[in-house]
Symmetry: C2
Subunit: 391 residues, 2 copies
């Protein structure tokens, strides 16, 4: 299948709030070849990745993603993997490359699955896609009372695992932070799994993280996520040595296989969380899942947006019986909720990939039209990018 008709759509809510909700906009990729359409989504700043898609060459290792993929052919899974290497090499000196390529790569898997009439997890060599236990992923409340109430609601909705993160956690006093963790556990009851996401708030300050550990241990938090920025391996490694039952989780910021591997090798993490929309798509995510399994680290998806992104993020560890938990956004924006026509179904409280060719979800064209952000980029007076037609 020839890669020539690739369209990038920047979608956004009418108003973007200054909160940690990554579902407020989206960069959607549509690839059509031989009458078949594949869809992918980047977890990226849409405008920056659109520029990265069409930017003029700076030198031999600083080329646009478009230059590397346009006119190439894919017929097999290996072709997609090879093309990924070519894109990374051609765009080595553009930091945004992996974020941009991710959505294109995902669309290529969707396209190839539809062409071969197979779900993508089967193209990866998996016999089946196991149901995953979704954990509800959401922001802490503004007050401990609000956090407690949010935790209760999640239990009422049937979630047996809940993650709270971001918002003010780590920014106030230790006592304030601990009060939120206590409230979360109180709202969930003793049985449910509690996860805490610090959202890199302590940068590389190991002591700031250590001060919160006793409360996390006391309330049986399964993992403390992203205490530090993802590259601060020394801080992860040092904090890991201070833990008893709580484990570290991290990796969502990894924009290539090696960044995730380094956290496993040197960061002492127990859970590696991969966003297929950032790491360069499904193939590098699968490589991380394989490596994690060798090292007894549990692979988990990172997803905060649509069910297209969710499907793409579950596929790389679809048959992993050791990793039964999966991030499931419960506070997604209207845009994210309405983009996909067949959201992943919850069967007896578990998330199941749709057993259809490709990624198994269809895109609602009316949602694209409704939230489309028109963009035009001109270089030397010539249009380098202009929001394309829908079909």
């Amino acid at each position: 299948m020839l890669i020539e008709d690739v369209r990038l759509f920047y979608l956004a809510m009418p108003e973007i709030q200054d909160i940690g909700d990554g579902s407020q906009d989206a960069l959607l990729i549509r690839i059509e070849s031989e009458g078949i359409v594949g869809w992918g989504e980047c977890e990226a700043s849409p405008l920056v990745s659109i520029a990265n898609w069409i930017c003029p060459m700076s030198h031999s290792a600083c080329k646009s993603v478009r230059d590397a993929v346009f006119g190439q052919r894919i017929e097999t899974p290996e072709d997609i993997v090879k093309l990924g290497h070519a894109v990374r090499s051609a765009g080595l000196d553009i930091a945004q490359t992996d974020h941009t390529w991710s959505g294109v790569e995902i669309a290529l898997w969707d396209l190839l699955g539809k062409r071969l009439d197979e779900p993508v997890y089967r193209l990866l060599g998996f016999k089946e896609a196991l149901p995953k236990t979704p954990y509800a992923s959401q922001l802490f409340g503004d007050t401990p009372d609000s956090t407690l109430e949010k935790a209760r609601q999640c239990r009422q909705q049937g979630f047996s695992a809940v993650k709270f993160g971001w918002a003010s956690y780590g920014r106030g006093t230790v006592a304030e932070d601990n009060a939120h963790v206590e409230a979360a556990r109180a709202g969930l009851g003793e049985e449910a799994t509690l996860l805490i996401d610090a959202g890199t708030v302590w940068n590389e300050d190991i002591d700031a993280a250590r001060q919160r550990l006793a409360t996390l241990e006391a309330h049986r938090v399964l993992w403390l996520e992203e205490p530090f920025v993802g590259e601060a391996l020394h801080a992860y490694g040092a904090l890991a040595k201070s833990l008893h039952k709580v484990q570290l989780a991290g990796g969502e910021g990894a924009s290539n296989f090696h960044a995730a591997r380094n956290l496993i090798d040197h960061g002492g993490i127990g859970f590696v969380q991969i966003d297929t929309g950032r790491i360069g798509g499904i193939a590098p995510a699968k490589a991380v899942a394989d490596y994690a399994a060798q090292r007894n680290v549990v692979y988990v998806n990172h997803t905060f947006t649509t069910h297209l992104a969710l499907a793409a993020s579950i596929v790389p560890y679809a048959d992993d019986a050791q990793s039964v938990i999966c991030e499931f956004p419960v506070e997604a924006s209207r845009l994210a909720l309405d983009l996909v026509e067949q959201p992943l179904s919850l069967v007896e409280g578990k998330v199941q990939l749709n057993d259809r060719p490709g990624l198994g979800v269809d895109i609602n064209q009316a949602t694209i039209e409704k939230y489309l952000v028109p963009v035009e980029i001109k270089v030397r007076g010539k249009t380098a990018y202009s929001t394309p037609d829908l079909a």
Copy 2:
């Protein structure tokens, strides 16, 4: 000084060649405040970083560089360091952030130095800027004979250290690669320092690198640079154990302090090479220089473009008496050569920072006009970026 008047200029040669010459375009940053003008340069894809400068907010950790710096004030070096933390935090989920901020940060140092009437190296706490021995940095020839001739010419020009890199090295047979190394040594003579740059050609293939080591050792190569992609710490670490006198060099791709530190901690490198135009500017580069000194690793600049970039890349280790070598581009494009009015002088064959306020170089406005690439970006019909006036 209030940061409000920030202008980004995309400059490019009329024709960009598909070779490893990073001087063919430039993203120049001009900041004016209180009648003083500071200049900086990003080592980045210009169009991608322009989009990153003005991109609409996606969420609280996905904001443009402009949003984070506009309306802020700097009066002291610490203000620039703090602003860097704020920019990285606001742009955490945009991979391009550090590449874009680098040029802005460099321009802020230039501006502050001019305001305080001090060279930037003094703002960093250094008493003096030591002369550095420049090594000529250039591509291998097309044939071993051509490599030999290039090496001879460098010696005739007075260089006592020469680096060959990229082009076909690592892509042909071991014998072909070795022939180029032998030719380089033959052309340089026995006395000169020879450096080899593999330009990440082996990705993470440790054996491919090992096959070339005997010849590198035999011809007394000081360092083998970037055998692998910068994040492949395990490959660097494994190769380092196979070396005798040759040392590994790497780090040019580091887009933050931690990435460079990780190569020092886990990659077994003997030389850490930092591009201030990528790592987030002068402050994080200085932090790497300080850390390298603690770990007995030699800090070296990475520069392949203008003397503005060269000055900014020497400043972070200006007083480092242990690190006397400096990358000095000898094949820069006309654009790069003509952009700066006071190139760094060679005094008795050594590079010396200009002892003037700021970074000590002036920008030739006619060069900007000559190579300017007009760009316009519209979002929702409104102009988000349009190439600004020169003054």
